[in-house]
């Protein structure tokens, strides 16, 4: 009797009783193998080759790549651009999500669509629109030239193009999150006499901090790695207007593979750290992030 009870859960007399909602083990293994192989070829191999190429001549040449003053200038510029673009979009994200989630007004969904707009514009077009506004033949070009201000082919253009392509990251993370949380807690704090700013700092901010961090992470990764938009407005002046991705392009086109991939290792490392933190946040603070499906 007890023997039957023990074995009945799995197989009895060699016959496998598979739940009707499970795929056959053949289908399962075939599908897993297909998925793993596909991901290995299309995702893991491109990541692995960055490190393999960078260290192909050993650690010495890898480190030498960072002695180059142009490489150092590129790293400094990338950090500077991110240090301006990320806080700018962070402040915008907070303002936009506060006004959209805590108040009701007509045209809200149009506003949300407009905030998402930069994601559906090609990076090259994002660079081009600033050339049309600030470039030599652009709208304000003659005026800027007369006043000795240079935006295109200079750092301000790079910053603007980076802000454009990373524009929605923080806002689109915070808007659904704050809409989900409602405004009851804020109303309670205000009724109890807290000032608006104090309410934001002590009630709203703790509620959204993980979502905020998530948005900032993605925003920063894109800001440091942006290529197309920055490439159009930068002018590629060595040591002056080259960010890390642009320097990678120049080195690669000069067949300086080790140096190109050495700088690429910095960006790939950043991508891995971003993915790691993102996965950690999704796993550890899933309920503090918005429950909606994510797409970028």
């Amino acid at each position: 009797m007890s023997e039957i009870a023990v074995t009945s859960s799995g197989s009895r007399r060699g016959v496998n009783f598979r739940p009707v909602t499970q795929d056959s083990s053949f289908a399962r293994y075939a599908l897993i193998a297909t998925a793993v192989l596909f991901l290995a070829i299309f995702l893991l191999a491109p990541l692995a080759i960055v490190f393999v190429e960078a260290f192909s001549k050993g650690i010495g040449p890898f480190l030498t790549a960072f002695d180059d003053p142009d490489a150092r200038a590129a790293i400094r510029l990338t950090l500077l651009v991110a240090a301006i673009a990320v806080p700018a979009n962070l402040v915008f994200g907070l303002a936009a999500s506060w006004s959209i989630a805590k108040f009701s007004f007509p045209g809200k969904s149009v506003l949300i669509t407009l905030i998402d707009l930069p994601f559906s514009v090609s990076p090259v077009v994002a660079g081009l629109v600033y050339v049309l506004v600030f470039g030599g033949q652009g709208l304000f070009g003659p005026w800027l030239a007369a006043h000795g201000v240079q935006i295109i082919f200079a750092v301000p253009g790079i910053v603007l193009a980076t802000i454009f392509v990373t524009f929605p990251f923080v806002a689109r993370e915070l808007i659904p999150l704050m809409e989900e949380q409602g405004k009851i807690e804020e109303e309670a704090a205000l009724t109890l006499g807290a000032s608006g700013f104090k309410t934001f700092l002590t009630v709203t901010l703790p509620n959204i901090k993980w979502g905020l961090l998530y948005g900032v992470l993605l925003c920063n990764a894109r800001a440091m790695g942006e290529f197309g938009a920055v490439s159009v407005v930068s002018g590629h002046i060595r040591g002056l207007t080259n960010t890390i991705p642009l320097q990678v392009e120049i080195l690669y086109n000069e067949y300086n593979n080790v140096a190109a991939f050495a700088l690429a290792v910095l960006l790939a490392g950043l991508a891995l750290v971003t993915l790691g933190l993102k996965t950690f946040l999704e796993w550890r603070h899933a309920d503090a992030l918005s429950g909606r499906a994510r797409r970028h």
């Binding site: 056959s24 190429e53 915008f92 303002a95 506060w98 629109v129 991939f261």
Partner: protein, 287 residues
């Protein structure tokens, strides 16, 4: 008797009354920042291209080199989105329905194309598929060339678009109702029949959305493509690259024309996504 002036005042209010402060400040800042950074520059593009007129746009689009690049971009983006659709569904299915060692890690890596800068993806794909690379060398033995041909563009666009399909389909797969599968099996359907006739149809809107997102992204993609494409005029030149080429030749109207056409294509894809989602909400009750 309500005082008419009070009614009028309330009717004219833009936002509903609230004790929460800061609407004017945050809403105003949102509009100004959005206007300065996004809307004004984009409006300048539209305004400049309206100067070209429809005939001017058509003339630019039918320049042989431009026409070739638009065709290349459009068809290869479409093909890449189809490949992503097929393999993205399998990847999403495997990651959601099965458990196997390394599943969490693979799941995290699906987002790699979002996180890895496009220039890095570009040079690493070029290194992999060049005639002496990991994949390029064995393929060269069979006279198959990937890097510096149109196939290279396809590979790069598959890479870029994959997460869009996987991440849109995954949540819907995990929400599929087991009861439906059981009912289908009880009524005598085989497993394959259940999968095709009961489980796939609710996934259709998500698949279509993921496809459109991958396609729209592929149309505009630049960084990961230009290193592996070879950029041969009339053969493997993509439209975004031609914008850059035109700008380098100081042909701003030409660049503006191509940009406007690309913008129109990606907005059409966006509109399609919204229509699909509206339809899906009516038909299935979810997005």
């Amino acid at each position: 008797m309500t005082s008419p002036s009070l009614v009028g005042k309330n009717a004219r209010r833009f936002t509903a009354p609230s004790v929460i402060p800061g609407f004017g400040l945050t809403f105003g800042y949102t509009l100004i920042y959005l206007g300065v950074i996004v809307l004004f520059p984009l409006a300048t593009l539209i305004w400049q291209s309206s100067g070209l007129g429809l005939s001017g746009l058509y003339a630019i689009a039918s320049e042989p080199r431009v026409a070739a690049s638009l065709r290349t971009t459009f068809f290869i983006s479409f093909a890449a989105a189809v490949v992503d659709l097929f393999f993205g569904l399998i990847v999403a299915w495997v990651l959601t329905r099965y458990d196997f060692p390394g599943r969490r890690l693979l799941d995290a890596f699906v987002d790699l194309p979002f996180a890895l800068p496009t220039a890095v993806a570009g040079i690493s794909l070029a290194a992999l598929y060049s005639p002496n690379g990991w994949f390029g060398a064995p393929l060269a033995d069979y006279d198959i060339k990937i890097a510096f041909t149109r196939w290279g563009i396809l590979v790069a666009l598959i890479f870029i678009g994959l997460p869009f399909v996987v991440r849109t389909v995954q949540p819907i797969i995990s929400e599929l109702e087991v009861e439906l599968e059981e009912a289908s099996a009880t009524l005598g359907a085989g497993r394959l029949q259940t999968v095709i006739r009961v489980m796939l149809p609710p996934l259709a809107p998500a698949l279509l959305t993921g496809f459109a997102l991958a396609f729209a992204r592929a149309i505009g993609e630049y960084g990961s493509v230009i290193f592996i494409a070879g950029n041969i005029a009339y053969v493997s030149e993509i439209a975004p690259l031609l914008i850059v080429v035109k700008l380098e030749q100081y042909d701003v109207p030409g660049a503006t024309g191509i940009a406007t056409i690309m913008l129109a294509i990606s907005f059409a894809a966006l509109l399609l996504i919204n229509l699909v989602q509206a339809w899906s909400r009516r038909r299935f009750g979810h997005v």
